[in-house]
Amino acid sequence: METAGGIDDDLGARLAAAAAGDRASWDALVDRFNSLVWSVARSFRLPDDDAADVVQTTWLRLLDHLDRIEDPQRLGSWLATTARRECLHTLRRTTREPALDVLEIMSTVPDPRPPVDHDLLRGERDTALWALFERLSDGCRRLLRVMIATPPPSYAEIAAALDMPVGSIGPTRARCLATLRTLAIDADLAVDPG
């Protein structure tokens, strides 16, 4: 598992230090997990302002609970769960459609983009692939958007973010990536590295 500055090996000490008043440890926790929290908000397709509010509220709630996180290794899952609940509150407030259950994926497969030139520059390929990603079904996009946070979240953290069983993540990931790969091939987009 990739880590940010090795903080994952020292989460308990960082949490304890933050609770004891060490600002640098708080900053380190934000640096380590903020991409995950942001990704959860984005997985619900929240616009910038709403996503920013979710992130801020999530960290403020941690501030309230700093000395009550029983298992530091589950901090990422706690943040993901808290962010997910805040996202659902935001969606309810704005009376948007609730997010689809991630297990109901693949019900709608978006139309592929028109075929594109084989000689796309990498940057153009990347932009086109990201556009395809954004057009995935809500279920697939939610799973993958959380999964591609930096550093990569654990399956436990992804499960917390999506409120789905850990055992479902691997198979669902495979199906969603297969769908994206098919869309990319249909659009003549290479998804090989490089």
Binding site: N34, Q56, L60, R93
Partner: protein
């Protein structure tokens, strides 16, 4: 053809390019540290009508009304939060028991003081976002709620 791990890694790179955490969001998360309150008595959220109802039940007439109850050793703050369907601003109404003074609504570093009339309050035009409430603790100091997003 790439492997799943390679495709996932490529998507992670794309997310970093196209949807990275805005710097101001990370800065705000770090700055929230300055809002720690170690001196006040904490009133915890003991009831939340949205937590207790399935999230899919969004189409009823109560869909935009959220009822919250915070308590702390004999004091309680009950709040109804309603979203104006036109402006998107929030209205907070409720009452306080077991505490004194005005109600203070904290929005980050901004504080809004709302008078309590027979323990009741009513304030409109609040912007969305995180907030916490505080009142005077009759035994000294203040009682402050945990953070909640309006």
């Amino acid at each position: 053809m790439s492997t799943d791990d390679e495709l996932e890694s490529l998507l992670r790179d794309l997310a970093a390019q196209h949807d990275a955490v805005p710097e101001h969001v990370t800065a705000a998360a770090k700055a929230s540290w300055e809002l720690r309150d170690l001196d006040s008595r904490i009133a915890t959220l003991v009831a939340d009508s949205w937590r207790d109802q399935p999230a899919v039940a969004t189409r009823d007439s109560l869909g935009t009304l959220r009822m919250l109850t915070f308590t702390s050793d004999g004091a309680s703050i009950e709040v109804d939060v309603e979203t104006d369907s036109i402006t998107g601003t929030r209205r907070m109404r409720g009452f306080v028991t077991g505490a004194d003074g005005d109600l203070v609504i904290e929005r980050g570093r901004t504080r809004i003081t709302v008078p309590l009339v027979d323990g009741q309050f009513d304030v409109e035009g609040l912007a969305p976002g995180p907030a916490r409430l505080s009142v005077l603790d009759p035994t000294g100091g203040r009682i402050v709620t945990t953070w909640v997003s309006l």
